[in-house]
Point group: C2
Chain length 366, copies 2
Amino acid sequence: MSEINILGEAYKKAKHKVPGHGPRNVQVLKDALIDIDGEMESEMYGKGNVIDDFQEKMAKYLGKESAVFFPSGTMAQQIALRIWCDQKGIKKVAYHPLSHLEIHEEDGLKELHHIETILLADKDSVIQLEDVAGITEDIACLLLELPQREIGGQLPEYKTLEDISAYCKEKGIKLHLDGARLFEILPYYQKSAEEVCSLFDSVYVSFYKGIGGIAGAILAGDKAFTEESKVWKRRHGGDLISFYPYIVSADYYFDHRVGKMNQYYQETKEFAQGFNQCYGVSTKPLEPVSNMFHVHFEAPKEEMEEILASIYEETGIGLTSYVREVTKTTSYYEVSIGDLYAQLPKEDVKKVFQMLDEKMRSIKTL
Amino acid sequence: MSEINILGEAYKKAKHKVPGHGPRNVQVLKDALIDIDGEMESEMYGKGNVIDDFQEKMAKYLGKESAVFFPSGTMAQQIALRIWCDQKGIKKVAYHPLSHLEIHEEDGLKELHHIETILLADKDSVIQLEDVAGITEDIACLLLELPQREIGGQLPEYKTLEDISAYCKEKGIKLHLDGARLFEILPYYQKSAEEVCSLFDSVYVSFYKGIGGIAGAILAGDKAFTEESKVWKRRHGGDLISFYPYIVSADYYFDHRVGKMNQYYQETKEFAQGFNQCYGVSTKPLEPVSNMFHVHFEAPKEEMEEILASIYEETGIGLTSYVREVTKTTSYYEVSIGDLYAQLPKEDVKKVFQMLDEKMRSIKTL
């Protein structure tokens, strides 16, 4: 099956990579530790300065009363939904059909918490107020993922968020934010994290997407909520004796990158334009609203792998290590922009788009 | 409440500490990283050399077909029991009344997996064959914790383990090893890890007890079992993108300390003798069978805190930062021996026991 790896191999060899902040290697941890005193004490099972300080810092940043560090968003979000369900005595929640909980968690929410789900909106659209208002059953919580990652990172209008928030408050439905990429959308909304989070009862954020840390998440809300989340964290096996390797790096890269989200956003829009000028290529969303988008090709996966590999070899620019099939004749991949983009030789990027346009035009089937 | 901290403060100030390998601080991580190339790639969601290699190494060491890295024993063991329950179609397991699952996990096994438990043996004794043979209901799995930590780290005779294993095999009951301190008991049994593990269908070991790593666990068994455990790991929110900070340190300290378990065991026996020569003091077990034991005082917690604090001040030796109440007139603390013990000035340790004996004799109530 050597053919399958054409693209992956070409990507590996490419002198410049486009996505992210650089390789996910041990240096990421070493860099975060350089200025940390070896005598700094580990926290112990959620107690101690290193975790307390970071939780307080994040609670303040998100404008919530309290915040708890979790090993993963998967754990944090199942627990958030469980708490809201228990509080209301209704084991039912609503979210998007392509929510992380629905497609990436082996049905943990159902298997472990026995929570039923209502899928809102068409899978290619973001959730609108009408979708929420159209729910005919009683639910404990609505989860909104901002941006909706699996459809290229799309966002509703901010007004829609405000309306949904007001509607949920009126109906006694808790509103939870899947903010895996919350930092990344603030420049588009031109809002602070605190402003966005004020629309939600509970919030999860991640530290290894735009922030580029190693792993880990924060779950924030009022104190009663976060205290209950700690009990569930222990039940899930997530109350580790020491999280400091993750916390120290989350804190380090948060400080380094949270201020660069507008730069990533502007670069992402610029990069998307390049694709949209190519024949048979378009981005979703057409104009990105964060540091991510999907590139859709009107050509089959295998053909695109060959085309892209040849472009990497010629230009030294590696766009992606994979392409996924959409239909037999179309394919896509996901872009997320970080520190690496600013270092790309712009002339070579221009050449990438020239070559891509030419090669797409030369495909007979188009 | 300043009085409460007398012992903790004296312990902090003590020049030499007895328990463990040293402070749980960031230096523990830094030391483990020194020889690791910064270009070493992180694993991604359970896939990659750093996790594959360690899992293979541990599977081999434990004599099992396959091994999976977990963030915690809490997660690994709930999942092990769930898999065995699902396989047999019976949601019932048996373990000791002071099992970690029963007293330290906020009932995760019951709350998340809805598994019923049967508590075997008196809480002050280890489980014997008769206890297992006396179970009148059908169970999917028996969990044995070796050593039984909450009663000072006691062990059954090895013959008992063999008999229980044979009995379970005959009855179609899966046998799971809570081996949080498995490495630590091998010198007493004079068996290899592989030999002990061959008696069990599934095994969990920890890397931050005797090994002294940062956090993390291994769950081992046959391939079908470990593959299923990965699905549940994801459901629990334990399938992190990167575990390498834990894995690299687990591997490093495993290599450094797994060969020192006999040294710790011999030192532990020597140390326990010192306590047992003191008036009103005894250890449980009387002769330790691992690197741990409990020290029981025939004096109330508050009185012992004052006595111990004065001993630390006089000798510079810190024994423990806490004492726990057993009854109004008795108390105890837990000892676990690691690298620090060999560095203690033996004359000062002798003085500790002389002072302890004198002070215990001078208590009027004894």
